[in-house]
Symmetry: C2
Amino acid sequence: MSNEHARIIPSTAATAIANPILVEVTRGDMVESRHRAAIAVVDARGSVVHAWGDIDRPVYGRSALKPLQALPLIETGAADRYGLGAAEIALACASHSGEPRHVELVSRWLAHIGSGPNDLECGSHLPFHEPSLEALILSRRKPDARYNNCSGKHTGFLSTALHLGEPTAGYIRHEHPVQQRILGTLEQLTGLTLGGAPRGIDGCGIPVIAIPLGNMAMAMARLADPDPHLPPARAAAAKRILAAMAAEPFLVAGSGRFCTRVMEVVGAKVVLKTGAEGVYAASLPTLGLGVALKVDDGAGRAAEVAMGQVLRHLNLLDADEETALAETFGPPVSNRVGRETGSIRPTGDFSF
Amino acid sequence: MSNEHARIIPSTAATAIANPILVEVTRGDMVESRHRAAIAVVDARGSVVHAWGDIDRPVYGRSALKPLQALPLIETGAADRYGLGAAEIALACASHSGEPRHVELVSRWLAHIGSGPNDLECGSHLPFHEPSLEALILSRRKPDARYNNCSGKHTGFLSTALHLGEPTAGYIRHEHPVQQRILGTLEQLTGLTLGGAPRGIDGCGIPVIAIPLGNMAMAMARLADPDPHLPPARAAAAKRILAAMAAEPFLVAGSGRFCTRVMEVVGAKVVLKTGAEGVYAASLPTLGLGVALKVDDGAGRAAEVAMGQVLRHLNLLDADEETALAETFGPPVSNRVGRETGSIRPTGDFSF
């Protein structure tokens, strides 16, 4: 894995070796579309247990990094200061669907820390959950920042800043202590110096920093297997984060969402988090492993199927769990008249 | 190009040569996601003028084939029987956004042929156009089949069946004369025997037949340059179809849609049609060429940028048109707080 990386030239020189085609979308007799991806499965010491494609190329982890970004919320003492429970910790790690329960809990949390929607700097958007979107439209109300899928994470940021007496305005900026603390956390967990790493701005306004998948997977493994790889306070925070996500799968995403469904079925064996542009990460405490994957073209449908295939082949699921997740891991494609026309599935090459 | 093709084995054997990366999505300092594609630019005799990637691999053209699928509407005499104008012909070729004008014109056309929404077999869905979607929800009405983006095409199918005295029920089925006529039309335009081609079911219920991009582009070139490559009646129908689409760009798609925008700016020089799963096709009458492209992973955002790059490099646009379409061809990516975070653009490799 990379211990450092040069600044990336933002053009696409011909990539020497293409990432493998791991997910295909069928329609009738034929494969209609194909998705290439890279996947790293790594332990807490950094040993690569399985890899597909180029796991050294830097990747924006996007929301898949939220469990790591939530560590300061606990480590600074903010979570204890405000008496935050599993629900809030899970929301701090969430890309939620904007359903009533998500919005209500974020509202209460904001009020509890003496804050409000206007202090959130993530912007707003309509709920991902279609019935909640329709209900909001029917109510003739516009969504505010609480409906943003990242609003829990941002409420966590506010909580930390308020707890430490830092000014909250501009907390999304790279230079702000909230983001600098996260940068330091990511450096320690990934084993990288990230000051020179490729950077950008995320959908919710905070910085994105590019990290190779191998290092990202190691960071997730360190959450899964924290003793003795993390200092005691960080190890305790890691356990608290994974426990909260596993206890509140609905809050981490929402109705019908892939990661919610998986965690509802398999519980704390698999704690997983999706990221935009085809990223997925997971901490596997019973195996002491971390997973990080990126679909080259950014497709979420392929990232889900790829993650499902990794989990199946790591023998993490018992027979009942496999049955319960069969359609989640290999979803049918149906048309507008309700007829099944194909499926999204791992390719024959995607084996162990 | 292929003149025949063996049945495709629906697994993904390692593809010998990967299609080139032609479109990239940037965020800050780095390329975040990449899209591979194949593109064919072909003349009416079948000579390949430009090609990227594998233009011999069969592809489901999806809605990009609608201009070809509309030929029987005219050739059978149905269009003249019912006095159909440019609006109806354009709707027959449309993947419309379900805006009020789309739905109203389809409604009138159905009534005119003595039919109604219940005779459409395409299924229904909410409008693609978000304000129209919100208005429909606020009205507390559910969308019926007229709102389906393919409803114009299907009304054309009904028109043809009624004109010829065929039973309309089951017109979406492969064995129905309406679909068999289309199959014959595609065979003649692509120069292929399609009886053994890979098949499936489209989103709207009609058959999809896999055709190599090279042959698809030749078919589009034959629409663009019909004399003497098509028999007189078919040549007249081809001209009528392209003229209708160019005259009614809004009806072919809708507000803010890529193909509508392009045709609004460049008029009849470029008649283009999008298809699901990253397909785009175009007829270029002033050059006598056809274009057909498929993004491997199915992404529409990449198909649009790829088509734009092909049009730019064929020197089809004057300076004013290029300026007017600059953002359409290289759209910025913005986040939830309205900040520009990156762009979707052709790669450095995507040159002539």
